[in-house]
Assembly symmetry: C2
Homo-oligomer: 343 residues x 2
């Protein structure tokens, strides 16, 4: 059926460009040309091939169900039309949503996206970068985990096009990034509680030292101080269990807090469940403010106020930035605006 019958190279038995050329009665060069030619709005090829020849090629392609080998093309061209996205935790809804929008945007431009999860581990991130580098991806969008500035720096220095997402890294200002204005988000939170007449706010979050969380808390503190609102911040070990949340929330409320602010989605959801367990009515007994667009916030009755970041913007913009970078255009970092929902 196919031309590649040389038993020495037991490559998959697929139609190659040569098979197409044979079937169409033209040369491989022509086939390649036709297949890679851009078509204008009328469907005409804007390359020097006879319309008739092009049709023969297309027919052969269809008959053989030929699919180009991206590997060979990439090898020859030096570009794979593939980008990789590395997030700290693909099971986090925020990143999963971004992944969806990113894929959407990339698909439209003919790019393939590969998703990987670093599991908040520097070692895993490092090994992922190596593997993806070896696969010749054209670029990477990285939401780095804590303490990964060395890896990300190295990645960029290896010549890989990199866009940093969601979390900023110290000392890497020269690498384009896209992140929320987290300082502003924190301030927003403080003002929201102020409007609701709260007097003492307990802030609860995991103690992962990532910039986004740090900035949210920093922004919150500054604005709360300015507004003269009392507050206390509690850091919990990463992925603490229910019991830890329970005692923490009890303690915080026992100390006189009338409001809770969870500056990250997972903590906010867990906190909500625990508040339920403790028989707390929201907003009856305490004011609450979560982060990101979690289903539960909308499902709750009444809806839970939260600060939202646009996963659509994150996905689409980060992709655009990376493509600009890959294609040699000037790219500058981007700051997204937080939005208060259900306030």
């Amino acid at each position: 059926m196919c031309c590649n019958t040389n038993p020495k190279y037991k490559t998959m038995n697929r139609p190659t460009i040569k098979d197409v050329a044979n079937k169409a009665g033209v040369s491989v060069g022509l086939v390649s040309m036709v297949l890679n030619a851009k078509r204008d709005e009328n469907g005409k090829f804007n390359c020097p091939v006879k319309e008739e020849t092009a049709q023969k090629v297309l027919d052969a392609v269809r008959e053989l169900d030929y699919k180009a080998n991206r590997q060979a093309a990439g090898l020859r061209r030096g570009k794979m039309k593939t980008i990789a996205v590395i997030v700290p935790d693909i099971s986090n809804k925020f990143f999963a949503d971004i992944a969806g929008h990113l894929e959407e945007a990339a698909f439209k431009e003919g790019y393939t996206v590969i998703f990987c999860s670093s599991s908040e581990s520097v070692e895993r991130l490092s090994s992922l970068v190596d593997s993806l580098y070896s696969s010749n991806v054209d670029g990477m969008i990285i939401a780095p985990c804590a303490n990964s500035e060395r890896i990300v720096k190295k990645t960029s220095e290896m010549g890989i096009k990199v866009v940093i997402m969601d979390r900023l890294l110290p000392g890497l200002d020269h690498i384009p990034s896209i992140a929320l204005d987290n300082i502003r988000a924190g301030a927003m939170a403080a003002r929201s509680f102020s409007r609701r007449g709260c007097t003492k706010i307990g802030v609860i979050c995991y103690d992962t030292m990532i910039s986004s969380l740090r900035d949210r808390i920093e922004g919150f503190k500054q604005e709360a101080d300015r507004l003269g609102i009392e507050h206390c911040v509690t850091f919990l070990p990463y992925n603490s269990g229910t019991e830890v949340f329970k005692t923490t929330i009890s303690t915080v409320l026992g100390s006189g807090a009338d409001a809770l602010f969870f500056p990250s989605n997972n903590a906010a959801v867990k906190g909500l469940a625990v508040a339920n367990t403790l028989g707390l009515s929201i907003p009856g007994d305490i004011a609450y403010l979560g982060f990101d667009d979690c289903d539960v916030f909308e499902v709750y009755s009444p809806r839970i106020p939260h600060i939202s970041q646009s996963t659509k913007e994150f996905g689409e913009e980060s992709f655009r930035m990376l493509i600009d970078l890959i294609e040699g255009r000037e790219v500058s970092s981007k700051v997204l605006e937080p939005v208060l929902v259900n306030d």
Copy 2:
């Protein structure tokens, strides 16, 4: 710095195997040999190279920070040491967990895993398969969406090694699959309610016609009938909003049901939130049974009973099956056992 200075081929300016060979003062063949040789437990190479030469190569690799080009290797070898996993929804915790375990298992064997999400769309699945096929992945693990038997069949016929996961497809018994004993899971649910003294059970789920859901309901019905327990099943449009859940649950309970069974995780979580909103106490007012290991089930007080499938087994076993398939070994389909938790 590197050898590839031919401006005609503007491939990425990376060290190639040739650079390593030059630096080490040996031939490219030797470098390839050393780099691909397996090492026994003592770290010795079990291939005919002098220990000393091997060391020279390794040194050169380290100095140049050389990383092999998998593309070229894959092209030449006909194998990419890469598998793809396509799930209907990467933001579903069940699949996200499987993804984690799969990656773990694959990593140990030197395989790279690519995750993709079909968004429950046949068209998206089809385009993903094409793209992955073009990338020469060695095999795919597919959790198919509804009505995708044609695509999966075609994929398998194209010569791609395929393992079907989680959901079975009619007429594709010749393709190895791994799935839960969903009939049994359904029966388990019925018996759980029976033990708890429930008399009428409302079953609520999305109306996606996938085998897993169908079987769970089928198994439930059979066993409930055998036990003489009343039941009624309500199908909701896929991803229905809160309001739909609210009215449905109200209706079901209004009709005299004293228990709710949600045979899929997302519906179970949403149902739980809505039950909260309605002021229902669980298990005080109604008995509840969810599916899969969702955080909220454990966070709730008292814990919510649910039927669990081992994502670890799914991940590890599906990978093992695919590798066996790729390496030409005999592979037979696998059925996993459900486990009742918090009962």
